[in-house]
Each structure stands twice: as structure tokens, then as C-alpha cells.
């Protein structure tokens, strides 16, 4: 489980660096950085990010209620992926 999380974190970082911050090293991109408030990911970028998470982790992002909070940081995205995969998500979200 631990290994899986680490790899998701690395993959998310890679995607963000490749698409939004090419000059940055993975070390410089903090997992708790607010990607939206800091302007790293803009509203169009957010759509791409959500689509990528859906494709990569086989999460039906179009069918679930996705909140921008779920994508506000790398930590948040990782939690979102974990929760979605464990199936907790729909129940929690609908409330």
C-alpha cells in the first residue's frame, strides 16, 4: 500500500512538472503546495489534470462529484485517488 501511494505521488508530480512547471525539480514541488492558489494549475489546467487522473487511475471522474478541493494539492489528489479506489468516495461525496 505504501509503495503504491509513493508511486502515485511521483506520477502526479511528474505530470504537473511536465505540464505546468517544466523548470522545477520534484524536490522543489511540495506535496502540500496549493496548486490552485499558487497559480501553478489554472482553470483549464485543472480540467486536464482531472481528466488525466481519471484516465490514469481508472476513476470515472465524469460520473462522480469532483470538488476542486480534491485537486488543490498533490496530497489531496493522492487522497482522492486512494478514496476513489477503495470505493468510499461516492458515499462520502453525496452527503
Amino acid at each position: 500500500m505504501k509503495r503504491c501511494n509513493l508511486s502515485a505521488e511521483v506520477e502526479i508530480k511528474r505530470f504537473i512538472i511536465a505540464n505546468f512547471a517544466r523548470d522545477v525539480t520534484p524536490d522543489e514541488l511540495g506535496s502540500d503546495l496549493n496548486l490552485l492558489d499558487s497559480g501553478v494549475v489554472d482553470s483549464l489546467g485543472l480540467l486536464r489534470l482531472i481528466a488525466w487522473v481519471g484516465d490514469t487511475y481508472h476513476i470515472p471522474v465524469n460520473d462522480v462529484n469532483v470538488s476542486t478541493d480534491d485537486f488543490s494539492s498533490i496530497d489531496a489528489i493522492r487522497s482522492f485517488i486512494e478514496e476513489s479506489r477503495s470505493g468510499v468516495l461516492q458515499n462520502d461525496r453525496s452527503s
Binding site: 523548470d23 522545477v24 492558489d37 497559480g39 501553478v40 489554472d42 482553470s43 483549464l44
Partner: protein
């Protein structure tokens, strides 16, 4: 530029102070008598050409004492002088000559005859000088100076900045710029000395530092880039104590640069001057670091005596009191208009010139430049000012230079790209810069693409960052992916 009264004043100076320095160039001093002698020999050469009285001639503005003498000789002979940039391509030069009706392109080295049809006849009171302005968009526009306007400017400028015999005025601008009306032509009219910066060395900080150290300059007029190059070149604690007036013009003066100026020029008054070729100087403000910091920007100040300024909204209605909109000005120094009548209709409104600049007037009547109207773009439907974004980015301590450009985007309309030159060894990255921008700007105004570089950004011949080059480069990068 030289009007009839300029020619009279200049001749008087030649008689009164023949041995006084008129021009300083490449380490050589040209006295008033020597300059007058050069004018004489140029006059003989012009007299040998088949030119009718009043015929306009073209003198490409390659800066040198010889070119200055040639311009004076042409005006003395009664010719109107078109003074375009000497960097203009052959085709553009030919087209310009045809428009104006110049049959000769003259230089101190060789004269080229053009078979151009005679242009429009001059109107009474038209000054002998025509300048061109490129603006940020479009082809060169020919601006016809007015004799009375130039006379009034020479008188105002010399008294405002204490230009008189014994004074040395630094000329940084290329010879075809209206700025030369002050730092060359007004200087020569009153018997002071113009220190000419060599154009091909104008971005060499070491050369500028050496020049300012060698010569006890009294007045400096230059774009902010000059001051930055000079400040960056100083490695010791040296200061220029002889300087009494430091005039910044042509571009917004960044606060970080302003803060360095009082140490460089401890005895000087700092001025921010706003103007354009069509109206000449229009606003003047005595700048203090404290006031600029309090406002967060350097004001352009208040209209010069005799200048009337109005602000209009998008519908053209005049805004009274505080507010922002396009600046319209009328000045005692302004031109008679463009050569192109159609252009006159577009840019002048009841004697007021439409500057194309957006300004803000505060409750105390102080004016602030917001930016060019054409720097406004729609990003995701939101009107965004590129210069405002740029100013915020330049506020970051590790940013040396920045250019914000709008790249067309199918979805967003435009996306903002910024290219930033960072301070060496600062380690500044795009995330830090975005966080900085996001803290001060609306989301839509935070650049979508941030590129950090360690080299200087491309600049135009006037020292402004060449946004066209930056934009073309970013558009190309966008296609590459």
C-alpha cells in the same frame, strides 16, 4: 527641432562663445566654431544639388556631429528635413521618401538621389523638421513639427532643467527621437554641451559607466534601461555628484531601479517625464522614493504648465475627478499633425491628441500611467492588462527583467506567457513566481506559461523590451509544444 529661432540662437552662440564645447563625441570635443564650420561645408555641398527651395530632404539619423551639422545646414538652406531612423530598411526608406516627396537622401558621407515625385507643399509655419514614430504597432508615421511649438519647448526645457553655458547634457536617445529636442537641440540653442552616447555602444554598461565617470554631466535624460545598465555596471561605491537633473522618460521606471538612483546621483533632482512625439513632454513629476513606494508606482504627475489633459471612458465621454481611461492631451509644444490626413482624423480630437495610453487620476489630481490601450487582452473573457501583470512580476526581488505577452489560444482567447530573467544564483523557479503573482493578481491574470531564463531579454533600439520578438518566440514554442 531646429526652428528658425533655433538657427538664430545657434548663430548667436557661435559668435558669443566660439571656443565653448558644443558636442562631445567619442572622446573628441567639437566647439561651437568647429560645428559652425562643419555646417558651412555641408551648406556648400547642398547648394550644389538640384534642389528647389522648400524641397524636403531625407537625412537618416546616424548619430554624429557631421549628421547634426548636415541637419542644421539643410534647415539653413530652407529645406524641410525628414529625420528617420538610420536602421530603416532600404524599401521602407524609399517608401517613406516617396510619401514625403524627398528627392534626396543625404548623409555626411554620400548623397543618394531619389526620383520621387514632389510631395505636398509645406504650409506656413511648418517647421523644417519631420520625425517618424513607429508606435508599438503599424508602419512609420511622419510627424510634422511646428516651429512655434518647438520654440516654446526649447524655452521651457532649458529653463526647467537649468540648461545654459557650462552645462553638459547627456544625449542617450537615437538622433531621430523627439527626446533630442531637449538633449541636443535645446542644448545647442543655449550654448551648453551635448554629450552624445554612441548608438552601437548604448547597451554596454561599462562604456556608459566610463563615459559618466569621465565627464562631469549636469543633466541626464534617458530611458530607464540606461539607469539600470549604469547601476549594474558600478562595482564600487561611486556616485555622480555633478548631476543636477536626472530625467527618466520613455518607459515605466521600476521601483527597484528608482530606489538605487539617489545613491548614484546624490545631488540630483529626479524627474519622471511623460510625453510622445506628437505632443512632446506633457507631464512632469519630481520623483521621491518615499512617495513612489507609498503609491506602489512612480506617478507621471501633473500636466506641465500650458498642457491640458482629459481622461475619456470607452464611449469617449470625459471623466471628471478621479477615475481611469484613455489620456487625451493638448500641449504648447505639439506638432501640426501627421503627414497622413486620414491618420489625423483617427488620432486627434478637437485639438487633443489621443495618446492610446490608459491613465488613472487620483483624488488629488495626480496621474498614473496604467499602460497602453493595446496592451489589453481578453483572457478567458476577462479584460487583462499585460503591463499590470508585468509590473507585479517585476516586483519579485529575484526578477531582473520580464516580458508578459498574450498568445492566442483557441479556448481561452489569449493565454498569458511570461519570460523572466532571474537574478543570478537566485534559484527562482516558476512555482515561486506563480505563487507571487497569484497573491497579487486575479486568477485569470496569472500567466499560464512561465519561462525562467538566465540571459538578457531582447530589446528594441530604444531600449524597451521587444515584446514582438518575445511573443513570436512564445508562439513558436507553443506550436512545438
Amino acid at each position: 527641432m531646429p526652428s528658425r529661432s533655433f538657427l538664430t540662437l545657434f548663430s548667436e552662440r557661435v559668435k558669443i562663445q566660439p571656443d565653448a564645447p558644443a558636442l562631445s563625441w567619442g572622446g573628441q570635443i567639437v566647439s561651437y566654431a568647429e560645428l559652425d564650420w562643419m555646417v558651412g561645408s555641408m551648406s556648400s555641398a547642398i547648394a550644389g544639388l538640384d534642389l528647389t527651395q522648400d524641397a524636403p530632404v531625407c537625412v537618416p539619423a546616424r548619430k554624429s556631429p557631421e549628421t547634426i551639422a548636415l541637419v542644421i545646414a539643410c534647415l539653413k538652406a530652407g529645406h524641410r528635413v525628414l529625420l528617420p531612423s538610420d536602421l530603416l530598411g532600404a524599401d521602407a526608406l524609399a517608401e517613406l521618401c516617396t510619401q514625403v516627396g524627398c528627392t534626396y537622401v543625404l548623409s555626411s558621407r554620400e548623397n543618394v538621389r531619389f526620383t520621387a515625385s514632389l510631395g505636398r507643399q509645406p504650409e506656413p509655419g511648418e517647421l523644417g523638421l519631420m520625425l517618424t514614430t513607429s508606435g508599438s504597432t503599424g508602419s512609420p508615421k511622419t510627424v510634422v513639427l511646428s516651429a512655434e511649438g518647438v520654440d516654446r519647448f526649447l524655452s521651457w526645457g532649458t529653463s526647467q532643467f537649468g540648461i545654459k553655458p557650462g552645462v553638459i547634457v547627456l544625449n542617450y536617445a537615437p538622433l531621430n527621437f523627439d527626446l533630442c529636442l531637449l538633449d541636443i537641440w535645446a542644448t545647442l540653442a543655449v550654448g551648453a554641451c551635448a554629450e552624445l552616447v554612441e548608438q552601437d555602444k548604448a547597451t554596454d554598461g561599462t562604456y556608459l559607466l566610463d563615459l559618466c565617470t569621465r565627464r562631469a554631466l549636469t543633466v541626464i535624460q534617458a530611458v530607464p534601461m540606461f539607469y539600470r545598465l549604469l547601476a549594474d555596471a558600478i562595482l564600487d561605491g561611486r556616485a555622480f555628484d555633478s548631476v543636477e537633473h536626472v530625467i527618466c522618460t520613455g518607459d515605466a521606471l521600476p521601483l527597484k531601479l528608482l530606489e538605487r538612483l539617489p545613491r548614484l546621483f546624490p545631488q540630483a533632482t529626479l524627474w519622471n517625464v511623460y510625453g510622445c512625439t506628437e505632443t512632446n513632454d506633457s507631464f512632469l513629476h519630481e520623483v521621491t522614493v518615499d512617495e513612489a513606494l507609498a503609491h506602489g508606482t512612480v506617478p507621471i504627475g501633473r500636466p506641465i504648465t500650458g498642457v491640458d489633459a482629459v481622461i475619456v471612458d470607452e464611449s469617449g465621454a470625459i471623466i471628471d475627478g478621479s477615475g481611469s481611461g484613455e489620456l487625451l492631451v493638448t500641449t504648447p509644444f505639439q506638432t501640426r499633425g501627421y503627414l497622413d490626413q486620414q491618420l489625423n482624423g483617427e488620432r486627434w480630437r478637437e485639438g487633443y491628441f489621443r495618446t492610446g495610453d490608459t491613465v488613472r487620476r487620483d483624488e488629488n489630481g495626480l496621474f498614473f500611467l496604467i499602460g497602453r490601450n493595446d496592451y489589453h487582452v481578453k483572457v478567458r473573457g476577462v479584460r487583462t492588462n499585460l503591463q499590470e501583470v508585468e509590473r507585479v512580476i517585476l516586483d519579485h526581488l529575484d526578477v531582473l527583467e520580464a516580458a508578459v505577452v498574450a498568445v492566442p489560444d483557441e479556448i481561452a482567447g489569449h493565454l498569458l506567457h511570461v519570460v523572466v530573467r532571474r537574478r543570478p544564483y537566485s534559484g527562482l523557479n516558476s512555482i515561486q513566481l506563480r505563487a507571487h503573482s497569484a497573491a497579487k493578481l486575479p486568477r485569470t491574470a496569472v500567466p499560464s506559461v512561465v519561462e525562467i531564463v538566465d540571459h538578457a531579454l531582447p530589446r528594441t533600439s530604444t531600449g524597451k523590451i521587444d515584446r514582438n520578438v518575445v511573443r513570436a518566440y512564445r508562439e513558436k514554442m507553443q506550436l512545438v509544444g
